[in-house]
């Protein structure tokens, strides 16, 4: 009996670990293969059978990218990402505070509207938005793109911050009110200093969205000077064609910062992902 039990649990563990390995291989395989390709000298990339781990490693593709001007798109992406994070947190926190703490007519509608906006899929907005921006002269401009990212990510920021502020003890704010603090002072001096985790979670959401976005940027910004990194990579896809060395190197330039930030702040990502869909 006991031996049978032991062998069964052994088999079970073997299956569990086999599953674990398959999961990791499928999830990370394409990324590691891209990393491996980006470090191979050009002739080795097309060799058959494929080398999983490069025999000789080289940074030539990365150097080539920086010589041919990937710096500008990176800078543009940084500008747009930082700008939209700043605007989103500013506008989002103030609105979330009012929604969470002040009773006013229309607040329920506003919350509901924010929730609805959160699930509007971007591709269906591209053509109409381009029509509008073209009329306003805001295409091919980093400001236009920053404003769009802000508008698209504000609903999730408001939602995260709203839930977060609701979870803070209200007694502190009451005490401050008795001391004669205005609403603005309460927000600045009491609520915001306590809102670290909420701010980080929502900031990370906006940051990765703005850094990763391709569809909005490619539709609104086609000029050389205002290209963001993903749009530049899309350009390489047409330009380098089957020259996968620089292509995979560019891919790594885009994803390595995201993966690093994600691994550092994982906990915050998860709390943001579930808010607005699962009660927590």
């Amino acid at each position: 009996m006991s031996r049978k039990w032991r062998s069964r649990s052994l088999a079970r563990r073997a299956i569990t670990w086999a599953l674990n390995l398959i999961i990791l291989a499928v999830a990370l395989g394409p990324i590691l293969w891209g990393l491996s390709t980006s470090l191979k000298p050009t002739p080795a990339i097309l060799r058959y059978p494929p080398q999983i781990i490069p025999e000789t490693t080289t940074f030539e593709h990365y150097l080539f990218l920086f010589e041919t001007g990937i710096g500008r798109p990176i800078l543009n992406s940084v500008i747009v990402s930082v700008g939209s994070v700043f605007l989103c947190l500013l506008v989002g926190c103030i609105a979330a505070y009012a929604l969470a703490r002040i009773k006013f007519r229309g607040s329920a509608f506003l919350l509901f509207g924010t929730m609805a906006l959160m699930s509007i899929p971007l591709p269906s907005l591209l053509v109409p938005t381009f029509t509008l921006l073209a009329n306003a002269g805001l295409t091919n401009s980093l400001i236009g793109l920053t404003l769009l990212y802000t508008a698209y990510q504000l609903p999730i920021v408001v939602w995260i911050m709203y839930s977060f502020i609701l979870s803070l003890p209200i007694e502190l704010e009451h005490a401050a009110m008795i001391d004669g603090y205005s609403r603005g002072q309460i927000l600045r001096k009491i609520v915001l200093p306590l809102s670290g985790p909420g701010l980080v979670a929502s900031g990370l959401f906006v940051l990765t969205f703005s850094w990763n976005d391709f569809v909005v940027a490619v539709a609104m910004n086609s000029s050389e000077a205002t290209k963001t990194l993903p749009v530049a990579i899309y350009g390489y896809l047409g330009f380098f064609g089957r020259d996968w060395g620089p292509l995979t190197a560019a891919a790594m330039v885009s994803i390595v910062p995201v993966i690093v930030v994600f691994l550092f702040f994982q906990r915050f990502f998860l709390s943001g992902m579930t808010s607005g869909s699962v009660k927590n």
Partner: protein, 305 residues
């Protein structure tokens, strides 16, 4: 406090009849949010509805067409074909992603050190740029990489070029969706799993219920709402997504993987037929409204905050 309230009331006696001072303050706090959303999300849709009634040549409204653009879209074989491709893609991607996501959630449910690491690992495809994810998969699936030949070679299929065959290309597109979004499903479902009281399963186990029985009779019924929410959110994403098809297959071969999102993009930004493109955008948006409404209903049912 009293004093400032009084002075505010004095300054706008007429408005204070229907706006309490607190409300005025609150409106001031939410107005930037409202303005941004109205101008950048609602306005484009209104403008699109207007443009969709015209013939548009490079942003010049040239001729009023009424609903002709809509009729043209709805009867175009090109659009109908892409609607079909979208349905095939969305259906299979949804079913597989949900299954894999639920499997991952159950497999990695306990918070052991390994499981926490594995959850982070499967989330990587979700957090990186969709463009880059599809680009990396395109490289894996391309004949030049030699990966497909090496894997399929032993089965005598070393000459198969996955992205050149319509059925295989669709399968690759579905794989792209599953690869990226399973972890998203996992996270939503995991949160649902964690909210099931553990005592239920324990009681059932003491009563001698098998693991499968517990899963069917306790886990699944308790997970009804999280599963429904995950389905709707995945569906909204899959029906609209355009990056997968644009980068991985380019819509080919022979338009077999040209999804609705991609058609919309092509019509607007490649062919510059803005009248028809806006009409299609409005149609797609109306379709989405149904999905979004279901999403909101489910959210309400959950008593969500």
């Amino acid at each position: 406090m009293e004093q400032s309230e009084a002075s505010v009331q004095h300054r706008s006696r007429r408005r204070s009849a229907w706006l309490r001072p607190e409300e005025r303050e609150a409106f001031g706090f939410v107005i930037p949010l409202v303005l941004l959303e109205v101008f950048l999300v609602a306005m484009p849709l209104v403008l699109a509805a207007y443009y969709s009634m015209f013939r548009v040549d490079f942003f010049e409204l040239t001729e009023f067409r009424g609903f002709d653009n809509y009729i043209k879209i709805l009867t175009s074989p090109f659009i109908l074909k892409s609607l079909f491709a979208t349905l095939v893609f969305s259906f299979f991607a949804l079913v597989i992603t949900l299954t894999v996501g639920l499997g991952l959630a159950l497999h990695l449910e306990r918070d052991t050190r390994w499981n926490v690491f594995a959850r982070a690992a499967v989330l990587v495809p979700y957090v990186i740029s969709m463009l880059v994810g599809s680009l990396l998969l395109r490289w894996i699936f391309s004949k030049d990489a030699g990966i497909t030949s090496a894997v399929l070679g032993p089965f005598g299929l070393s000459e198969t070029s996955i992205l050149a065959d319509p059925t295989n290309a669709m399968a690759a597109l579905i794989f792209n969706g599953v690869w990226r979004d399973s972890a998203f499903a996992m996270i939503l479902l995991l949160a649902g799993l964690k909210s099931i009281p553990i005592t239920l399963a324990q009681a059932a186990a003491i009563d001698g219920a098998s693991a499968w029985y517990r899963f069917r009779r306790i886990t699944l019924p308790m997970m009804r709402l999280p599963i429904l929410i995950t389905i709707v959110r995945l569906l909204i994403h899959f029906v609209n997504v355009l990056t997968f098809a644009l980068i991985l297959t380019g819509g080919g071969p022979n338009n077999s993987t040209q999804t609705l999102g991609l058609s919309l993009y092509r019509l607007g930004f490649v062919d510059f037929r803005m009248g028809e493109a806006n009409a299609l955008a409005i149609l797609v948006f109306l379709m989405n409204i149904v999905l979004i409404a279901i999403n909101l209903l489910l959210f309400r049912q959950k008593g969500g905050r």
